[in-house]
């Protein structure tokens, strides 16, 4: 990470995508970014009462409401990874104690950030990565829930708390970020409440400082491998977005199915009251449908609480990686600009000036870090999604098993010979 002897620049320049092996995917990256455009007709529900394209249902707003994310496994994964890397962790961060504040202009929620700091080594100014998510704002942009219903606000606060906790832990675990000066300031400020507005400013300043340092330089062309990463991230986020919408739609349909079931079951009870010999069988069917309804409700709750939030985390996660990619571009652009400037000043040609060298170092560091980060990210992603999707399958299996049990248990009741009334 520290600067070593100046290395040769990796060969960049306009190569055809096809010549360069894609670092991330085995298959060709011809997948267009706009892959959502042509839905196959038999997968859509062409309803007479005008349901729209399932791929793009009503905007991006979640149909349900947010609930706490149980992404502790994700956390564990992150921490485990860093231990494997052999980093010595001396900084521990937790986010808890949410408090609601009502002011004249706004209502907001604050969280307490607790740090346990061991022997602390500062590596100097490494303000090269932008913190994308200002944790102190009351509502994250991506998660605007239209008309937040009061009774959910507790769960929502908890979701945020967990997300913030994770977010800060991630920074803590990051080999480079955790030593970020601004991050440290953020952590050590005495009274977070008092510094609330300053907190925002702090992070904005981080962002600003980044822009200041690297702003104003235009990158001519992104090297192939990074271009590939960028494209991958774009498509990945797009697909995740689609999956999110599908999942939301499924939950919506399941909830509507649940509503009907809750009316359906009791009708058997009503009928049972009219009958003699059939009374018990009908009542049994009613109870059975009731059990299935409960199982379905549990499924939709699980989906909302466990599945969706993690999905959305990953969309944000990939967005933050894209920002890092952009910063990398900036660094490279700066270097190239400086190099060009030097090339024009003929007297310095035999030796490369110190600041240009520094720039080159920075760029190479950045590139190496980014590639390492990306690899780590890919590993995490693979494990996380394996677990997430297996969990999804599990929840559905459990739902069906509950229903199966309910129906199998009433077969003997239905077959029973009743005493004629």
């Amino acid at each position: 990470m520290a600067g070593g002897p100046p290395k040769a620049l990796p060969s960049t320049g306009p190569h055809s995508l096809r010549d360069m092996p894609h670092p991330l995917a085995g298959s060709s990256s011809e997948e267009a970014v706009g892959g959502d455009s042509t839905p196959s007709p038999d997968l859509l529900m062409a309803r007479s009462f005008g349901d729209k394209d399932l791929i793009l249902p009503n905007g991006g707003t979640p149909a349900g409401t947010s609930s706490p994310a149980s992404s502790s496994s994700l956390l564990n994964r992150l921490q485990l990874d860093d231990d494997i890397d052999g980093e010595t962790r001396d900084l521990f961060v937790t986010v808890d104690d949410p408090k609601k504040h009502v002011c004249t202009m706004e209502t907001y929620i604050t969280y307490r950030v607790t740090t346990k700091v061991g022997p602390f080594i500062c590596y100097g100014d490494q303000a090269s990565l932008e913190l994308t998510e200002p944790p102190h704002l009351p509502l994250p942009e991506k998660f605007v829930v239209k008309g937040v219903v009061d009774r959910f606000s507790e769960e929502f606060v908890e979701t945020r708390r967990k997300a913030l906790d994770k977010f800060l832990k991630r920074i803590t675990d990051h080999p480079v970020l955790s030593f970020n000066e601004h991050f440290n300031v953020f952590l050590t400020a005495k009274d977070l409440n008092a510094y609330k507005k300053q907190g925002i400013a702090l992070l904005t300043r981080v962002g600003e400082s980044v822009k200041h340092v690297t702003g104003g330089y235009k990158l001519r062309s992104r090297p192939l491998e990074f271009a590939a990463i960028g494209e991958y991230l774009d498509t990945f986020a797009l697909k995740l977005g689609t999956i999110d919408r599908i999942a939301q739609r499924i939950i919506k349909e399941e909830i509507e199915y649940l509503v009907e079931l809750r009316e359906y079951g009791p009708v058997y009870s009503t009928w049972s009251a009219l009958e003699g010999e059939l009374a018990e069988p009908l009542e049994g069917v009613s109870a059975c449908i009731g059990n299935c309804s409960t199982a379905l409700e549990e499924l939709t709750d699980d989906m909302t609480e466990d599945f969706l939030p993690v999905l959305r985390e990953y969309i944000l996660y990939s967005d933050s990686m894209k920002s890092v990619l952009k910063k990398r571009d900036q660094v490279q652009a700066e270097y190239e600009a400086k190099l060009e400037a030097v090339a024009l000043r003929k007297e310095d040609r035999p030796k490369v000036p110190a600041d240009v060298e520094k720039c080159q170092d920075r760029m190479e560091c950045f590139n190496a870090d980014l590639k390492a980060d990306m690899e780590r990210w890919q590993n995490n992603k693979r494990q996380d999604f394996r677990q997430l999707l297996m969990g999804l399958a599990d929840k559905n299996i459990q739902y069906y098993e509950k229903c199966l049990m309910a129906w199998e248990s009433i077969i003997p009741l239905l077959q029973e010979k009743q005493e004629p009334k």
């Binding site: 995917a25 399932l54 991958y232 697909k239």
Partner: protein, 450 residues
């Protein structure tokens, strides 16, 4: 009579099919041991003793449906569906069946047959026909009468109707029913010649009776109440079930989108690609599995519908009782008032208002001969009235006895049929759950390989 096995051919134990006399003579057919739901314990007609005369069995099936065009009564072109009815007699010894009759009938002819049976057997809970128009449809089903699925379900329903009639201890003996199965041409004329339409009670009369009857048999009142409630609850059930089916369809179909997006996603992945791709395939399988599941459920809905329509048949029997009872009460009242008039004339006291009394007052007393003549007429009328009352009473009691016997038979049948329907519904649900577990287990395995 499960609808789940449409091509099953029910066996009857009939007699040799002898030539028949005039209307009212019966086909020598009877209930076989194997036909479900034909309880014999409460039946008014004891069939068991006649079993020894049966040599052959009859099987009835509605095997085909065909679109036809023809000219209707007003000579206009119309398209309708005709159904092929095949009757087979089965040799008792070797079980081979021989086709004895085969003809085509359309729905309206079934209706004619049923209306005839309703008039001639008012004490019987006459089996209902499948619905004329598709009701309780959810969005995937067509409400069009010409839709092949609707036609198919109707074919099954019509077969079921014939089997119900053929296995009813009283109805199976009807000649018109026999001719329906055997005589293609001219059958309509034969039915109409019975003049049954004229014998039918007018709606108005029936409605009037319902409101004004004073002393109906309590059991019938209760039964009518029950059939009203049954109709209401089954309608509600069918409506909600249709909505449930609609929603369930939606849930399954949306999962198909997973298939597509997993496939697209797998294209940009290295190690995860295969797992995603194959999981996506399972999502497609899941999404398409709902079609068969819901088709099976339609059979269940049809079984419920039959009993929805049976409720109407129950009500018809109750109405007939009310009509007869009202008739009886009116006749009794009539007789009572005539007796009173007679008495007044004889004794000379006028307790009730009469026009004659008024005019007598106004225009002078009638002569003794005139009075005698009137008394004589009244006495004749009273005699007649008493005879009529006696026979009406008898009729009424016969009706109650026979009707109640058939109602008991019906109750047994209903309980058994509906229990079987519920069992088959539960089995359908179990099968659906097992399929769901299978698909998601497969998908989980694919995910584990990511």
């Amino acid at each position: 009579m499960e609808q789940a096995d449409p091509s099953s051919q029910r066996s009857l134990q009939p007699a040799p099919l002898e030539p028949l006399g005039g209307p009212g003579a019966v086909v020598e057919a009877s209930v076989s041991e194997e036909t479900a739901g034909a309880g014999r314990e409460g039946s008014g007609v004891d069939m068991m003793t006649e079993n020894t005369f049966w040599l052959k069995k009859i099987e009835i099936s509605v095997s085909e449906a065909e679109k036809r065009t023809g000219r209707n009564a007003v000579n206009m072109q119309e398209t309708y569906t005709a159904y092929l009815i095949e009757t087979r007699s089965v040799e008792h010894t070797d079980g081979q069946s021989v086709l004895t009759d085969s003809l085509w009938r359309r729905y309206s002819e079934f209706e004619l047959l049923r209306n005839y049976l309703l008039v001639y057997y008012p004490h019987v809970v006459v089996p209902p026909l499948p619905e004329k128009r598709a009701e309780f449809v959810w969005h995937k089903l067509s409400a069009d009468n010409m839709d092949p699925d609707f036609v198919e379900r109707r074919r099954i329903g019509l077969e079921n109707f014939l089997l119900r009639v053929a296995s009813h201890p009283i109805l199976c003996r009807d000649k018109i029913f026999y001719l329906f199965l055997t005589q293609e041409g001219n059958w309509k004329e034969t039915v109409n010649e019975t003049g049954f339409q004229l014998k039918a009670d007018s709606r108005l009369k029936a409605l009037n009776a319902t409101f004004r009857v004073k002393n109906p048999d309590k059991r019938f009142t209760e039964l009518k109440h029950y059939s009203d409630e049954l109709q209401s609850v089954i309608s509600h059930l069918l409506r909600v079930r249709a909505r449930v089916a609609d929603r369930l369809y939606g849930v399954y179909k949306v999962h198909g989108n997973y298939g597509r997006v997993f496939s697209e996603w797998s294209a940009i992945e290295k190690e995860m690609g295969d797992g995603l791709q194959s999981a996506g395939h399972h999502m497609d399988v899941y999404a398409s599995s709902i079609d068969d599941i819901l088709e099976d459920e339609e059979h269940y809905a049809d079984q419920l519908k039959e009993y929805l329509f049976y409720a109407e048949a129950l009500r018809a029997v109750c109405r007939k009782h009310e009509l007869m009872q009202y008739d009886l009460e009116t006749a009794a009242q009539d007789l009572a008032s005539k007796k009173q008039q007679c008495e007044e004339l004889a004794t000379g006291t006028v307790r009730t208002f009469s026009l004659k009394g008024m005019t007598t007052k106004l225009f002078g007393q009638e002569t003794a001969e005139q009075r005698e003549a009137r008394i004589k007429v009244l006495e004749e009328q009273i005699n007649e009235g008493e005879q009529q009352l006696k026979s009406k009473n008898l009729e009424g009691r016969e009706f109650v006895k026979n009707a109640w016997a058939d109602i008991e038979r019906f109750k047994e049948q209903k309980n058994q049929d509906l229990k079987e329907a519920l069992i088959s519904y539960a089995i359908m649900q179990i099968s659906m759950c097992k399929k769901g577990i299978q698909v998601w287990t497969n998908a989980k395995e694919c995910f584990s390989k990511m």
